[in-house]
Symmetry: none
Amino acid sequence: MKELRAEILSIGTEILLGNIVNTNAAYLSQELAALGILVYHQEVVGDNPGRLEQALTESFARADIVITTGGLGPTTDDLSKETAAHYFGRKLVRDEKALADMRQMMEHSGRTMTPNNLKQADLPEGAIPLYNQNGTAPGFILEGNGRILIMLPGPPSEMKPMFDEQVHPYLRQKSEQKLVSRTLHLCGIGESAVEYRLKQRMDELVNPTLAPYAKTGMVDLRITAKAKSEEEARALIAPVEEEIRAQFGDFVFGADADTLEGVLIERLADLGYSITTAESCTGGLLAARLVDYPGASRVLKEGFITYSNEAKEELLGVSHDTLQTYGAVSSQTAMEMAQGAAKRAGAQAAISITGIAGPTGAVPAHDGQPEKPVGLVYIGYYLDGEVSYEECRLQKSRRGNRENAVVRGLNGLRMKITEKFSSKTSQ
Amino acid sequence: MKELRAEILSIGTEILLGNIVNTNAAYLSQELAALGILVYHQEVVGDNPGRLEQALTESFARADIVITTGGLGPTTDDLSKETAAHYFGRKLVRDEKALADMRQMMEHSGRTMTPNNLKQADLPEGAIPLYNQNGTAPGFILEGNGRILIMLPGPPSEMKPMFDEQVHPYLRQKSEQKLVSRTLHLCGIGESAVEYRLKQRMDELVNPTLAPYAKTGMVDLRITAKAKSEEEARALIAPVEEEIRAQFGDFVFGADADTLEGVLIERLADLGYSITTAESCTGGLLAARLVDYPGASRVLKEGFITYSNEAKEELLGVSHDTLQTYGAVSSQTAMEMAQGAAKRAGAQAAISITGIAGPTGAVPAHDGQPEKPVGLVYIGYYLDGEVSYEECRLQKSRRGNRENAVVRGLNGLRMKITEKFSSKTSQ
């Protein structure tokens, strides 16, 4: 069986100038690896027809499939589509559905079509169009002389769904082997701890393979099996999944499309509980993460952003004494925030976050209080009348600290719910 | 004056598998651009001598300088140094200082030298060594036949200081030109409209050049000039910046490191105003965006997430009648949310957002109310006693709609403040 080879060719002067980091190439490489498609080269060229055509020539000398990102925008320097059509000896023809989609989007948002927009609806003759649900530029797949060119838009918010929904199924068909992946999501345990415990198994396993991927505050374990049918592949995956779940227990919060916030919300909804949030340093990120999950309105009615001490007192009823004695960044304040928010919102569950996100704001030791360094975060929990807290010492950027704190908070409450109800729900 | 051309060649299977994002290429590209050295290609290859030698051959056919990152580690598959020496027809010789440094570092951290470590102290004959203060592998600069090869270690924590301290001064001597960029940030006008109005100018301009870049809800315009000194380059940029500011007026909200939230917060702080937020569909994203700016605490004391109608009534004082008659997604509700939040927080400014983020939730026409499609968002503003609103029809994903609404809200308030105070502040 022939193994397919692919190259990733990113188009964009802004990448060559170092203004943006090429996350698209990493994303596509990971996806192609999971499909069993080999990637030996990634390349970046600017919006320059001559250099793009040369790059296409070189890439197709080495690979069967070339996937490009970028260069499909409405601006004049986006000439990649013309170059690709020329390379394949095709004309550009207007795609009526792409045009209609674009008109509708423009009308809907009250914008006017420009001649540059019209050009975006042109595709090489004979191409399979990839319609864009998240932007104006369609992508396409072009086959010819045993070569496959796949052109995708540059913005990750457009490229990723287009790849997932349209290109992935196409490539899976091209590959004669069925490659099936199952991703288990872990939270509450570090990447190196997971790797340490699984190192030997990862080395031993050949089919399925097992590989870890770190995400902010979480670790994914991907089990990938190759077989002639999807059923066979799934049968290879099942015992390894079972083994991992047995080893990591409640650290495994879900699989595949599950999200931490989704799992927590469904758990709360099952219990008939509602939740509220009280945020200081995360300033709304925690609530926004919950709202990311469609259907959050079943359990989240309101949330509080209490950045100042006054707001903590007035909105949440944190006591003036607590703030004076222990400070805003303390376990005591975190717990009073969670309890106060739950009471205020009439909710059965609450998460509060207060901390020093950085880059400045460290508080030296004073009045018997220990030093409070950047990255110190307290998370308060309220669940059914019980109040508790968690102390975190994070060490990332301001943004990273806040995202990490949000993940810790969501996972902390999830694990408390499991603990509390495990005796009742276990068989 | 001869323009130097460079290419960046990253070596590492982990990049080709998508396990790490290639931030080194972005860093080096940015540094080289600032040095006036042109980068037309970035490339990634695995730890494979054959493919690396081919990549070197191709790169040196196009460029004067090739900078590699990675492939200098102690593991057996790191054969890049041998490949480079072979390409230049040189032998590898042991560098005694590199070896001594390595011994000292190993002793210091209690590790033992392995034969693989010894190999790390070998450099091509005649190379300029680049000693590594932050790891074991030295890098080097190799000149020959008008070609310059610079090999750097892969970990960013080793590569960056080595480049900054040793390679940058070397390249500055080689390059006679300075490249200076200035980026203007625009909000409130679409990318294609900007492009349409500037098309002719972008085509005409050679030095400086002018190029647009789209971001969520915003457009960047980058002016880039080349000259013998930074001062000369800045003098070339100034009149083009003036021209763009004159043409786009208040759509230009800042330059270079300015952010929309930062500009708004500084404006509010200058006025001695505080701000609050009232969010429904964005669920905290607006407040989180404000808190992203260090120093937000000067103007933001608290914010409200009112996802349910009850919370809108109870926390913000939106009237029951308004919600019954016009619905939660209406201009009337948006304005009452903004006004209620401002009153509640004692703030001079407030932004509220209520809408249908999707993917579901469209409300058909009923009781004299028009249809409310997914993507319909109302933004309410409160500024110094005046209440107003903006209707947006967005059409991105759930996430995209919410981010877009946040940008619209921040920019809307910014423009209202400018309008209100322009007569007082204009000279």
